[in-house]
């Protein structure tokens, strides 16, 4: 009973932490995608390089 509660509590904490980290990961993705939009012409360089 007690062990189960500890595990549930730990899982809840882990979930909370990971969810907030997931939000930060989404921010990182957002910044990178925003950056790519501003610099999309870079991808064309590969065609000129080869």
């Amino acid at each position: 009973m007690y062990t189960g509660a500890v595990i549930r509590d730990n899982l809840r904490r882990w979930g909370r932490g990971d969810r907030s980290l997931a939000g930060l990961a989404a921010c990182a993705w957002g910044v990178i995608l925003f950056y790519i939009v501003g610099h999309s012409r870079f991808f064309g360089a590969w065609l000129k390089l080869f």
């Binding site: 930060l24 925003f34 950056y35 501003g38 012409r41 870079f42 991808f43 360089a45």
Partner: protein
């Protein structure tokens, strides 16, 4: 040949350190990089001060040091080593980005190796100083026309070392900054591992070494990458000492701090690296005892690797930071001829219109209105994401009461503030280390991410690295000269160096090519305007180039003649054979006095040609004829 010597020194240092100390692999490589760079700087400095700077002596000294490393490898200390930490594997999500980064870096270095020495400052003073040392066999810069003879010189010492390892040609010296790449990779990897765990080691190392401006600059003879590599190395060794203690970490911290101090005359940006030392002394009694006991070693290493150039300035001018003046509360501490605040700040306008533009700049990274990378800018998208999330890293470090992380992260606001307050020429290339701190901070934010979330972050990380190296590819094909060089390399042909210079420098390149056909080994070429000085020495370099002005120069000992007679006597005394008078379009009056003097003395000067265009201005070459008695 130079690469083989340098690699042998680095690998043997790694082997000796790995065998004799219990180190994480990243730290073993980092300390091997610090050790081999320190040895290279010190041996070049020692031979140069002794007037024995020659290819044979440098090669012999480098082999002797490599042999000493091998002796330390084969005769290990009687120290019981515990289990060593294993190298962290490269996460699969990063493989495509790592492959693209290696490919683009390879192309970048292939182009840089095939073309003649490039870049404005590289041709104006970094390489001309190295060439002068090699031609003379010592470190004398008497007569040098500008402030560069007083600047920090570790970058030039490393360049001279590589040049002499390669037999005295500048082909290895122009790629000197490549020596900073292993240090940068290992320092970022070591910090990633120390602060975020082994899973982030490669991510940080890759993002640092594949940062667009780092890859671009590795092909030009500047010192920004070297400085940032030593700066980050000092931070990494400082954090390692703060976390673990130990004389090896402390010594590496001191040597890297000295290397950074001696690489760029921006001591105010290097000084914050003492934060890990201060935090260790304040928070760990064991560190206090260790530092007190080993402080002569710490101070000695900083002095050896970093203070020689400041000592030189002190001896020559009485001011270690000459030509800069230092005033504190109205009292002149050091008398100089320039106040940092008087220098140009107009270059900042290439990037944004106000100082506050720095906060937004990492997300847009434009130069003169164009979203492109150059050797002046290009931190890339990993740094943009890292910049956005760096406050979160502070918050997490504070919540975790993580003193080492806080000491490291504190470097970001402190150096950024000092850069904005004190640095006279605010251009991104001077602070390559700032986005590197942010990148480690980003890894720190995701230190406790679960496996799936970590993979999601690494995927974004890989995409960002890919975009960054694509921007480097864009840099390589955007420019006509570089594009021409790459197309020749792809066809298996060699690059016509003078055509490359003509594409880059127009009429000035034509004048260089015309003079090169006349130059003989040992000729002396005088120039009135010392910018872009190197190509006047021919290719391969055969002439000695001196700047001789026909007006007073502020710098002590610079060659100038205030009157026609003095100027003529000086040309004669220096045994000048050719004189190049350049009036650049941005300083149209430059060269007027020389032209006027030449017109008064038609028997002593014979014009060999004149070249001009709207961008570079006009250039005329004269042969200086002997006096008819």
């Amino acid at each position: 040949m130079a690469a083989i010597f340098a690699l042998a020194l680095l690998v043997s240092a790694f082997a000796a350190l790995q065998r004799n100390f219990r180190l994480r692999p990243e730290e073993a490589w980092l300390y091997a990089g610090i050790l081999s760079c320190s040895e290279a700087v010190l041996l070049t400095l020692g031979l140069g001060l002794g007037g024995r700077l020659s290819s044979g002596a440098v090669c012999a000294a480098t082999w002797a040091l490599t042999a000493a490393h091998m002796v330390l490898y084969f005769v290990p200390q009687n120290e019981r080593l515990g289990r060593r930490a294993a190298a962290a594997p490269l996460p699969w999500a990063l493989w495509p980005a790592a492959a693209a980064a290696v490919l683009v870096l390879g192309i970048r270095l292939a182009i840089a190796g095939a073309v003649p020495p490039d870049s404005w400052d590289g041709l104006s003073y970094h390489l001309p100083i190295v060439l002068r040392w090699i031609q003379q066999g010592n470190l004398d810069l008497a007569g040098w026309p500008g402030p560069e003879r007083y600047y920090a010189w570790n970058g030039e010492l490393l360049s001279a070392w590589l040049a002499l390892l390669g037999g005295g040609s500048l082909s290895a010296a122009k790629l000197c900054q490549v020596a900073g790449l292993p240090v940068l990779l290992a320092a970022a990897g070591a910090l990633g591992r120390r602060l975020a765990g082994p899973g982030w080691s490669w991510a940080c190392g890759l993002a640092a070494a594949a940062m667009p401006i780092v890859v671009i600059q590795s092909g030009v003879p500047y010192v920004d990458v070297l400085y940032s590599a030593f700066w980050l190395a000092a931070a990494a060794a400082g954090v390692a000492w703060l976390r673990s203690g130990g004389v090896l970490h402390m010594g590496a911290y001191a040597a890297a701090f000295g290397l950074a101090l001696g690489s760029k005359s921006t001591a105010y940006l290097t000084a914050p690296l003492l934060i890990p030392l201060a935090v260790a002394l304040w928070s760990r009694p064991a560190a206090r005892r260790e530092f007190v006991r080993w402080s002569p070693l710490w101070v000695g290493l900083v002095a050896l690797t970093g203070l020689a150039c400041y000592w030189r300035n002190w001896l020559q001018t009485g001011n270690p930071i000459f030509p800069f003046e230092l005033r504190v509360a109205g009292w002149t501490v050091f008398r100089g001829i320039t106040r940092p605040g008087d220098l140009l700040v107009s270059m900042e306008k290439w990037f944004f219109s106000s100082m506050w533009g720095w906060a937004w700049y990492p997300f847009v990274e434009t130069i003169k209105g164009q979203a492109v990378y150059t050797y002046e800018n290009g931190f890339g998208p990993v740094a943009a994401a890292a910049w956005a999330l760096s406050p979160v890293a502070f918050w997490k470090a504070w919540r975790r009461r993580d003193a080492a992380a806080l000491a490291f992260l504190a470097l970001l606001p402190l150096t950024a503030a000092l850069f904005l307050i004190m640095h006279p020429v605010r251009v991104p290339r001077y602070v390559i280390f700032l986005p590197l701190v942010c990148i480690v901070a980003l890894a720190y934010v995701f230190k406790r991410a679960g496996p799936r979330l970590r993979t999601a972050v690494l995927a974004a990380w890989a995409l960002a690295v890919l975009v960054g190296v694509s921007g480097v590819a864009d840099y390589l094909v955007r420019n006509d000269a570089s594009s021409y060089a790459w197309s020749e390399l792809r066809r298996g042909r060699s690059v016509d160096a003078w055509r490359y210079y003509k594409d880059q420098f127009l009429s000035l390149g034509e004048a260089w090519a015309a003079l090169d056909q006349r130059l003989r080994p040992g000729d002396v070429v005088a120039v009135n305007y010392s910018e872009l000085m190197l190509p006047w020495s021919g290719m391969p370099t055969k002439a000695r180039v001196v700047a001789v002005r026909h007006s007073a120069v502020d710098y002590p000992g610079a060659y100038f003649g205030a009157t026609d007679r003095e100027w003529l006597d000086l040309l004669q005394k220096l045994q000048v054979h050719y004189l190049a008078v350049w009036s650049p379009s941005w300083y149209k009056d430059e060269g007027d006095l020389e032209r006027e003097a030449i017109s008064q003395l038609p028997a002593r000067f014979r014009s060999l040609g004149k070249w001009q265009d709207a961008q570079m201005g006009s250039i005329e070459i004269f042969e200086f004829l002997p006096a008819v008695i």
